[in-house]
Symmetry: C2
Subunit: 285 residues, 2 copies
């Protein structure tokens, strides 16, 4: 089946109206934070943030499938020495709209920018708010399982030693068998804290998140041929990852530069993606 990528150029709120009700499986986005990035986006004052975002979240609620998920990446800025409260007010407002606030993941940015202030440390985490339309939603936990921690590693080490001896006495060669069994068993479910580095380079967009971030949520909340929406597309990370993972995607971007940039990059990516599939069928292996 072909993977589609749809791009919309224009204001997020009005472009969203073109999308059908209950048509999207996953929304994942990082909207412009209040008063950040004033140069590229309008820059929204913290006090106006909830009023600005509410009509958008209302549209998102409409287009999301009943079993779908909305992941909102956001962090309040420091205003006059203290944290703003607009994120909390936004959560409360979205709950009134009908959203369920299911969970708050923490994105721990391992390589946050250094800096020194007299009264605070580097801000090295952001919120990843999970909202849902109903209490039942699709979640494919096995897709994001991770290897176990130190305990399992050391245990695996010892096991490989003993298994070596056992295998040598019984069969002869091949410690691969037992180890691979243990490797499979040594997977654990992750927690709600994500450790990812920020991507500082090769993107023109000022605040692109690392590919691993949308990848994790796309794997977790969608399956192949599902539809992913990023209403603040930016440099298009979410869309590229969606395509790579064989998910359809929709992107909305208000700035023509980003829109054109993504549009140009999506087409060669399609060719690149379908080429290996043909080869694979020919060799038959």
């Amino acid at each position: 089946m072909e993977i589609k990528t749809e791009l919309f150029l224009g204001d997020c709120q009005s472009e969203l109206k073109k999308l059908a009700d209950n048509s999207v499986d996953l929304i994942i986005t990082s909207p412009p934070y209040a008063d950040q990035r004033k140069a590229t986006y309008g820059g929204i004052h913290p006090n106006e943030y909830v009023d600005w975002f509410s009509p958008i979240s209302e549209q998102l609620l409409r287009v999301l499938k009943p079993n779908g998920t909305f992941i909102l990446n956001i962090k309040e800025k420091v205003l006059d020495g203290e944290r703003s409260t607009y994120v909390m007010e936004l959560i409360l407002a979205m709950k009134k709209q009908g959203w369920f606030w299911t969970e708050e993941f923490i994105w721990h940015k391992k390589n946050s920018y250094p800096g020194k202030w007299p009264n605070r440390f580097r801000d090295s985490w952001e919120r990843l708010l999970q909202f849902n339309k109903s209490k039942k939603f699709n979640m494919y936990q096995e897709e994001v399982m991770v290897p176990m921690g130190d305990w399992a590693k050391s245990r695996l080490k010892n096991l490989s030693e003993t298994d070596k001896k056992r295998d040598n006495s019984k069969v002869g060669s091949g410690f691969g068998k037992n180890i691979s069994n243990w490797l499979e068993r040594d997977m654990a479910y992750p927690s709600n804290v994500l450790h990812l580095a920020t991507e500082c380079n090769n993107k023109n967009h000022s605040a692109a998140f690392p590919e691993e971030l949308p990848e994790w949520f796309i794997k977790l909340f969608t399956k192949k041929n599902d539809i992913v929406l990023d209403p603040f597309m930016g440099s298009g990370t979410t869309l590229f990852v969606s395509k790579r993972l064989m998910r359809n995607s929709i992107g909305i971007e208000i700035l023509p530069e980003y829109f054109e940039m993504v549009k140009k990059q999506i087409i060669p990516l399609e060719l690149h993606l379908f080429e290996p599939e043909i080869k694979y069928e020919k060799t038959g292996s």
Copy 2:
């Protein structure tokens, strides 16, 4: 100078009234979370939590010195499939009382409670909310500087590979047990994400936080001979650490068992603490 430890047995709200205005340098506490410690403490329903805590936070605002800091350790529970909002409502309520919400630290608990559910992962973080009475407050950042590991150098190369696995060992600000292994020369300021394991054993209290947690904040926000207050003393971790770091401390506890337990333990600790000092003076080294 002698280090004093004062203990109060009784209800937090009424006992706090015995303390003088502007008399405490640091408040650090972990109140019973809504409906959690039902067996030991009363258990407060999420809907009533703000009303229950507000009179207490009002007292805390009164007793805190103008340059002091209040660290509140708290996390909302899941209620009927979604996160409760009482922590956010509490922050908004405390701001109305006159508190400044300066910062939110994240306590990442490596060893969070296990479990598997169809719709969520393990909860492995808690909030450490920093409130202040004014925008100018005492902060001794050098006291909590951490050595830098080589993870900072190699982070760019292995990014995609390591992120697929769970990074257990070297994530983040790295206080804990391996400090002695780190190189001394390049010291860095920590960030606002703390990586600490919970203490499961050797305490009779059900939910003592690890000593490193109050230690970090005591070093960061007080100097020697300052006064530290824990209005929900529990097993007394905050007080023991304060004493060890030569800070005066005040503890309030409503349950006589804990009160007596801490009382008994504080006295031998004093003897233990002052003995080495005398020896130190005698040897003169």
